[in-house]
């Protein structure tokens, strides 16, 4: 089949606009998947994706339709995962842009469209959920025209849930999205747009062939790492992996080449022929910079090495994860791990726990600060405990440019939220008669604590948010240390604004008090800035822990109870002589900043 009959496309959408459901319907409609094998959100293979109803990883699948090969690359919708979207788009010539007709354009829709425009892919706008009673088709069309510039006749209508409009969408893909432009006669040039690790085959590379072709036993060169391999297996996703003889220009599929060293096969790298290499690699991907760091420690300290291996494997197909070894007095050996945002952090934590079966203690996340010391040293602070307040000249924190799109009913409470969070208002514009775009700059630190949840709650779920790093700015920040039974707990150290320090210290101490069970002796919890204690609470000494009635029939039961007590203690972390439960290390996330 020549590549005139190939179409490579993505589906991009704001979270919850129905992207995965539409993908499901397309697979069903084209009989790519038998109905009896169908389960909701078919492409979301991770448990966590199905449970949370989100897509985390891209997926690639071949669909045969009216004599054409359509390659669908599914993408995530959450702001944390926009890098996955941009990766997927680089492997495509076109994209379906899904807009929920009951909600209209959202912040993430715009962000995705900008990404798509940067990569030059053809966009097909689709208004979804047209079966719902609250759908506003005309208004949404108007918005799409005004904000994105698409004419009314370019916009498709669909209900993924009811299977309406699927055929039209497929026909339009063939009609409007250009066939891949590559030349199969040229030397091999292919993009690695994703990968995963399999213990039998090593790294499985998801590839888009730009030029040339790839065959079994070909010698290949990964241009970034300069590593050479021999191809073991070639295949496509149908949606299960299926071996084929070769992939040619325009194709999307996978290859394996016995790659065991996962650092050699980076996503974004270019594959070429080892014998006849091309001169220049593909542009590759923008390096993702983690914006949020937290400590991750195995609950069981003996599993440090397993955690390192697991992080290595996750980092293979999640280019945004960064990690470095870290030790904490309270938590032992672990890692400081960088993420794009909080959801990214949560998802990674869950993947580590589920896919690798490693129980973790996570510390409070923080952004990356820049500390300027009196002696001229400049240090990036990934871990608040490392900030040396005593010789600090000034400190800078990251700011983001944020955009909120909301029905205008909620402007009031959203503006209040922004003010509470020290946002710097940069303007507001009406997208339609009742929907506005609010722009502001805000410290990233403010976004990672409860911002998204509070935005959703003050807007009854209607407001959407997108943000982008704009740079660093000096701030009056201080290191807030928590002492439990007079001992500083490194894992609980945070960096806060001086004006909030008292309040935060008090709240944090109170939250910790709720988490730390009574011990044999009373335990003071203090929050301090430098040597000055700003807040103090006390966990009273344990007064009751007794089995009152214990006779001949209770011997085994009592033993079980004591063993359970021992297990419970083992799951806690010891700071000095105080047992602290693992949840306590995240208490700051529960601190409300009303």
């Amino acid at each position: 089949m020549d590549n005139k009959k190939i179409r490579n496309f993505s589906i991009i959408a704001h979270i919850d606009h129905g992207k995965s459901t539409l993908a499901d319907r397309i697979l069903e409609f084209t009989n790519t998947i038998e109905k009896r094998d169908m389960q909701d959100q078919f492409l979301d293979t991770m448990d966590i994706e199905r449970e949370r109803g989100i897509t985390v990883k891209s997926q690639a699948i071949r669909i045969m339709y009216k004599g054409h090969k359509l390659h669908l690359i599914d993408t995530p919708g959450h702001v944390d995962f926009s890098y996955e979207v941009s990766r997927a788009l680089k492997a495509c010539e076109g994209a379906l842009l899904i807009i929920d007709g009951t909600q209209g354009i959202q912040a993430q829709t715009m962000a995705n469209v900008y990404l798509a425009m940067e990569t030059d892919v053809k966009i097909i706008p689709v208004i979804n959920k047209i079966d719902l009673p609250g759908v506003k088709i005309e208004e949404t069309k108007q918005e799409i025209y005004e904000e994105l510039g698409y004419e009314e006749d370019e916009i498709l209508l669909a209900s993924a849930k009811e299977g309406i409009g699927i055929e039209k969408i497929l026909d339009t893909i063939i009609e409007r999205i250009p066939a891949p432009a590559g030349d199969e006669k040229k030397s091999l040039k292919a993009l690695i747009f994703d990968s995963h690790y399999n213990s039998y085959q090593g790294v499985i590379l998801y590839v888009r062939i730009i030029d040339g072709e790839i065959n079994k036993e070909d010698k290949i060169l990964l241009m970034g790492s300069q590593a050479k391999y021999e191809v073991h297996e070639i295949g496509i996703f149908e949606p299960k992996m299926k071996k084929v003889d070769k992939l040619t220009a325009g194709d999307v599929g996978y290859i394996t080449a016995g790659i065991k060293d996962i650092t050699k096969a980076k996503v974004g790298d270019t594959i070429t022929s080892a014998e006849n290499p091309v001169d220049k690699p593909l542009p590759g991907y923008r390096e993702m910079i983690p914006m949020v760091y937290c400590g991750m420690y195995p609950t069981d300290n003996d599993r440090y090495n397993e955690l390192r291996d697991a992080l290595d494997k996750l980092a293979l197909n999640d280019a945004a994860i960064r990690f470095e070894p870290d030790t904490s007095e309270a938590l032992g050996f672990g890692f400081r791990v960088g993420f794009l945002g909080l959801l990214h952090m949560e998802v990674t934590q869950e993947r580590l726990e589920r896919e690798f079966d490693i129980d973790l203690v996570i510390t409070t996340p923080n952004v990356v600060y820049k500390a300027y010391y009196e002696d001229g040293e400049v240090k990036e602070i990934h871990n608040p405990a490392q900030l040396d307040q005593s010789r600090l000249e000034r400190i800078e924190e990251p700011y983001v440019k944020a955009e909120i799109i909301t029905p205008d009913d909620y402007i009031g409470p959203i503006m209040k939220l922004c003010t509470d969070k020290n946002a710097d208002h940069k303007g507001m514009e009406y997208l339609s008669s009742d929907r506005v775009l609010i722009k502001f700059n805000i410290p990233l630190r403010q976004i990672i604590f409860n911002f998204y949840d509070r935005l959703k709650s003050v807007s009854s779920g209607y407001a959407s948010l997108d943000y982008d790093l704009i740079g660093y700015k000096e701030s009056d920040l201080v290191k807030l240390t928590i002492l439990v039974n007079k001992k500083p707990v490194d894992a609980l150290t945070t960096i806060v604004h001086r004006d909030d320090a008292h309040y935060r210290g008090r709240q944090l101490a109170r939250k910790l008090k709720e988490h730390i069970p009574r011990q044999l002796f009373k335990v003071p919890i203090q929050a301090s800035i430098g040597k000055r204690v700003v807040s103090r609470v006390t966990v009273k000494a344990l007064r009751k822990n007794v089995t009152s009635k214990c006779y001949g029939g209770d011997v085994s039961r009592k033993k079980k109870l004591l063993e359970k007590q021992k297990e419970g203690k083992k799951r806690m972390k010891k700071v000095g002589s105080v047992d602290i439960p693992q949840e306590a290390f995240l208490s700051i996330l529960e601190v409300d900043d009303e």
Binding site: K544, T547, K549, C550, G553, V555, S556, K559, Q565
Partner: protein, 363 residues
């Protein structure tokens, strides 16, 4: 020294709200009491000719049985065990069933100690606990006080405001001048009625601090009245400590008979089936576990630390614990006399934490 013998009567008139023992309300029970006693006597054969010096008939509510039925059990004991050295023979009595004629018959059969489940003198509290007797039943027993020369009374505390109620409860209890008193801190177990009541806000409990204060108050008042606080929940006039129960706390062998009863015999810790059919037809025992030397030490220390007298450590245990205490400043909670270690009375109420520390260090 002889062994202890426990006999379980898994019947009651109605289950108390806090009870999670195996006991069947008499209206629902499928088997006949005479049949149950027949099986009990058969089970005795498993331990034939064993020397016994204490017997305890508990439940459930053994006082539901007729004196003749009890006599039947007693004669079974006499036939199957060596009882020449029998020192203490206790039966539990629900105040609701109190009948002096029955008691006298039991005394004639050889029962010499009676344990009354008073639990409270407050009708409102008795109602919450799901007890079927009332205060007047207790007043009635008082009239016959002189006919008993060894009896024990039980109380429960832990409900909301028990901290206020406790003084009058204790005063009333002391008026009976019992030789022995057991006072239990209410434990709300899952799968009990009281658990649901707590969940649905039908009852409340005193908080941890109030319960601890109540306990201290009990200890003080009973000491003032001449009672020896010899175990976490037990108090006795000198020489009236329960010989049978001391066997449990010293982890000495005891035989348990009847549905769901447990025993520690021949280095086996066992528990009988809790369904009567299985108990009767499948060889009585559902769980049997051999207790090796190390485990024996575990249990002896676990149980022994409930006692004021504490437990004697062996040389190795002693040196481990001595080092552990020095490192963790634990001396303030314990009394060390030679190699005997015990928890200070003041800290009985947190004994699970303290016993846990010791066992975690040793085993």
């Amino acid at each position: 020294m002889g062994k202890g013998l426990y006999i379980h009567i898994p019947l009651c008139f109605k289950k108390c709200n806090y009870c999670n023992f195996v006991s069947y309300p008499i209206s629902k029970v499928k088997f006949k009491i005479t049949d149950y006693i027949k099986t009990l006597k058969k089970e005795m054969k498993e331990f034939e000719n064993e020397k016994i010096d204490t017997v305890y008939i508990g439940g459930g509510t053994p006082s539901l049985l007729d004196p003749e039925e009890i006599e039947n059990i007693v004669s079974g004991i006499k036939q199957n065990f060596k009882v020449s050295g029998l020192e203490e023979f206790t039966i539990e009595i629900n105040p609701f069933d109190f009948n002096i004629e029955n008691i006298r018959k039991m005394q004639k059969s050889g029962i010499n100690r009676f344990s009354f489940g008073f639990q409270s003198f407050d009708n409102n509290k008795l109602e919450k606990l799901g007890r079927i007797h009332r205060r007047r039943d207790l007043e009635n027993i008082k009239k016959y006080r002189e006919e008993f020369n060894n009896f024990s009374l039980d109380l429960i505390f832990g409900l909301k405001n028990d901290i206020k109620l406790i003084e009058s409860e204790l005063r009333k209890l002391i008026e009976f001048n019992p030789q022995h008193i057991s006072i239990y801190n209410l434990k709300v177990e899952k799968n009990t009625k009281i658990f649901k009541m707590l969940e649905n806000n039908k009852i409340e409990l005193d908080n941890e601090d109030a319960q601890s204060k109540t306990y201290s108050y009990i200890n003080r008042l009973l000491k003032e009245n001449g009672y020896n606080h010899y175990e976490i929940s037990n108090y006795a006039k000198k020489g009236f400590e329960s010989k049978h129960n001391l066997k449990y706390w010293r982890f000495k062998p005891y035989i348990g008979l009847g549905v769901s009863a447990s025993g520690y015999y021949d280095n086996i810790l066992y528990t009988n089936y809790s369904s009567y059919d299985k108990y009767k037809n499948n060889g009585y025992k559902s769980i049997q576990k051999e207790i090796k030397k190390v485990q024996k030490r575990y249990f002896r220390i676990m149980m022994g630390l409930r006692l004021k007298e504490g437990v004697i450590l062996n040389k190795e245990e002693y040196s481990i614990i001595r080092k552990f205490f020095d490192k963790n400043n634990l001396d303030k909670y314990f009394i060390f006399r030679n190699k005997r270690i015990s928890i200070k009375e003041k800290y009985f109420f947190i004994s699970n934490s303290l016993i846990g520390r010791i066992l975690d260090e040793l085993f």
